[in-house]
């Protein structure tokens, strides 16, 4: 620190390729490939285009929410109300459909309701400064509660026939519309998080919100936008799911919030904020989808599958740490 000669600073210590080689995503990709191979060996039905296409429905909707949730968690917040937003969005669309709304209007209503729910969460968190985990535990009951109030023990099922496209349509051959949408969202969120100023500020906020604010980032505004995005993606997922089910009941998508969070964490996003990547979440979505589908083909009951997911969630973090501890 004491001599005064100026020095040349290299840009990078390691080449980007070297970094990639040590990355979490690569590890996860290896896991995904291993599961894929294991599945192909374990079940004769696995390697079949239609079956694989069907399998994507196990994760596409959850993954779409997971992208937005990943950004939110990277920024140090969380939204546990996403599944409840799906219920409310679906109810709103059902009510509109019952009143005779056409498909375009339904989509607008769905996205609008999602945005409104996101805005409500965002306002409570950024304006009133409440912890997001508590706020969204509350809105989780509130949103679904409202849809119970509206629907009671009834169901909406009068969706226009074209509406079925979002959840049941195919773009070409076995490629479902949902899968294409999933791919587009993945790309969009990749660019948003890793290639834009907005994404950079998300990382900065998650690392140290105070320092980010002191660097001139509008922390409240960014967080609010993230809640909006999460609401929006819940709306998108709600459209797909409602279309796939062809009907709405208030209990729709219950328990999804924890599955979405699991997907995000499995994708290597730090639950404490500040780090993570969209490719990681994409691979995690495939991993979860492949595991549930593969075990499903072996007729393993769902509850036993969830043990696998739980073990995976803990071991993806635990095993590298144990390995490091064991080596020294």
């Amino acid at each position: 620190m004491s001599d005064m000669t100026a020095r040349h600073l290299p840009d990078r210590l390691q080449s980007p390729a070297a970094r990639l080689l040590q990355s979490w995503e690569l590890l996860l990709l290896g896991l995904a490939i291993a599961i894929f191979i294991a599945n192909s060996l374990a079940s004769p039905y696995f390697l079949n285009a239609w079956n694989l296409s069907d399998a994507t429905f196990n994760f596409t909707e959850k993954a779409m929410i997971a992208f937005a949730m990943a950004l939110l968690i990277i920024a140090g917040e969380i939204d546990l109300s996403v599944a409840a937003i799906i219920a409310l969005v679906s109810t709103a669309m059902g009510a509109a459909a019952a009143a005779g709304a056409g498909t375009p209007l339904l989509v607008l209503i769905g996205l609008g309701t999602g945005l409104a729910c996101g805005a409500f969460n965002g306002l409570l968190v950024t304006r009133l400064g409440l912890p997001s985990i508590v706020v969204t535990i509350g809105t989780m009951s509130l949103f679904r509660g409202v849809s119970f109030i509206i629907l009671g023990d009834g169901a909406y099922r009068s969706y226009p026939p074209e509406f079925a496209y979002f959840g049941q349509g195919y773009v070409g051959w076995v490629i479902s519309f949902e899968f294409v949408l999933f791919g587009l969202c993945a790309l969009a969120y990749y660019v948003l998080l890793h290639r834009t100023n907005f994404g950079r500020s998300v990382f900065a906020i998650g690392n140290n919100a105070t320092a980010a604010q002191f660097s001139g980032i509008r922390v409240g505004r960014v967080k609010f936008m993230l809640f909006l995005l999460t609401g929006l993606m819940s709306g998108v997922a709600a459209i797909c799911l409602t279309s796939r089910l062809g009907s709405t009941r208030p209990s729709i998508a219950s328990g999804w919030e924890l599955e979405v969070v699991t997907m995000v964490v499995l994708g290597g996003v730090s639950i404490l904020g500040g780090s993570g990547s969209i490719p990681g979440v994409v691979i995690a979505a495939f991993v979860m989808g492949l595991v549930t589908f593969g075990l499903g083909l072996l007729n393993v009951p769902g509850i036993v599958m969830s043990i696998f997911i739980g073990l995976m969630l803990i071991s993806v973090i635990a095993v590298p740490r144990l390995w490091r501890m064991w080596r020294g």
């Binding site: 535990i137 009951s141 509660g145 119970f148 109030i149 964490v265 969830s306 803990i314």
Partner: protein, 332 residues
């Protein structure tokens, strides 16, 4: 004096009284002493879990596995009782607490030794514990007639007019209160949650303290597991499903700061009672069952808003003038 009046606990007590008054205005029988005892008894499992959760949240952690822990402990007790009705209930009870504590300790060890974030650990163990119930029970129920009379009778036996279940609630509250206010470990919970970095400097092992918090939470979940199964005389995979969030909600309503290090046991008790009363009042006042969920959601949001408002740092005051105005406004 002013501090006392504006404290979270006072406000919450006020809210509870208001709730009781509102319920009573539509259904007077609700505040009959016998019914209040029934409501308290019904709230006891929630209270017991919330006490454990409080300790965990105080240390800046969260335990999402409590409901699964309860269900697994309960199932083990029930299966044991069904297989060997001769085992004394006291032994089963001790086993439930022990089993729960072990499950809690697993959470705690993962948080302590591997430094995995608590929410991830307990999200994982929550599904694992539930899954294990399925594996050991094969998805089957354990029913009332398979349980011994002593097993199902204990929680509802009355001592001094109060069911044993309620006594367990009271005893747990007292014990946790004593521990939290009067033992070094209890104070360490506050220290670790309030300023983990500083805790190290005072010789407190942060990880170990969190480990004990999880273990205590687990032990209480185990206790609640036996009580639950015995009370409803049935055990199956899904019992108390989703209860973990209600437990967290009780703590939050009671003013336990999710950021750790702040909150009181009295607050937790009031928070649990508040939710318990809502749950018991809604079926008797003529509110559509469909409203129930929205009402409890709104209650959580309102409570946390008020708590955060009252807890917001008053900020130090530099200006002499403002300081003077402040002291006049609040004569000590």
């Amino acid at each position: 004096m002013k501090r006392l009046l504006t404290s979270r606990e006072t406000m919450l007590s006020g809210a509870i009284l208001l709730l009781l008054a509102l319920t009573a205005s539509r259904f007077p029988g609700f505040i009959a002493p016998a019914n209040l005892v029934a409501v308290f008894t019904d709230t006891s499992p929630l209270l017991i879990l919330a006490l454990g959760q409080t300790v965990v949240i105080l240390t800046r952690c969260i335990d999402l596995s409590v409901a699964a822990n309860l269900a697994l402990s309960g199932m083990v007790c029930a299966m044991l009782n069904a297989a060997m009705p001769g085992i004394p209930v006291a032994l089963i009870l001790a086993l439930a607490v022990l089993l729960g504590a072990v499950m809690g300790a697993i959470n705690g060890a993962l948080v302590w030794k591997l430094a995995i974030p608590p929410i991830v650990v307990t999200l994982g163990t929550m599904t694992i514990y539930r899954g294990i119930i399925f594996l050991i029970s094969d998805g089957a129920w354990v029913n009332a007639h398979e349980m011994s009379a002593a097993f199902t009778g204990l929680p509802r036996a009355r001592i001094l007019g109060l069911p044993v279940l309620a006594w367990f609630g009271i005893a747990s509250a007292l014990l946790i209160w004593l521990m939290v206010t009067r033992t070094p470990l209890g104070r360490a919970f506050y220290a670790v949650g309030g300023n983990p970095h500083a805790a190290v400097y005072t010789g407190i092992d942060v990880g170990r303290t969190q480990f004990w918090a999880f273990t205590i939470s687990g032990a209480l979940a185990g206790l609640a597991g036996y009580l639950w199964v015995a009370r409803y005389s049935v055990a199956y995979v899904d019992i108390a499903g989703g209860f973990e969030l209600e437990v967290v909600a009780a703590c939050v309503i009671g003013g336990i700061s999710i950021a750790g290090g702040a909150g009181t046991i009295l607050g937790t008790i009031l928070g649990a009672l508040f939710l318990g009363i809502i749950k018991n009042a809604l079926p008797v006042v003529d509110v559509s069952p469909f409203w129930q969920m929205a009402i409890s959601g709104a209650a959580i949001i309102i409570a946390v808003t008020l708590n955060t408002r009252s807890a917001r740092a008053k900020g130090r005051i530099i200006l002499r003038r403002a300081q003077a105005a402040q002291t006049e406004g609040a004569p000590a």
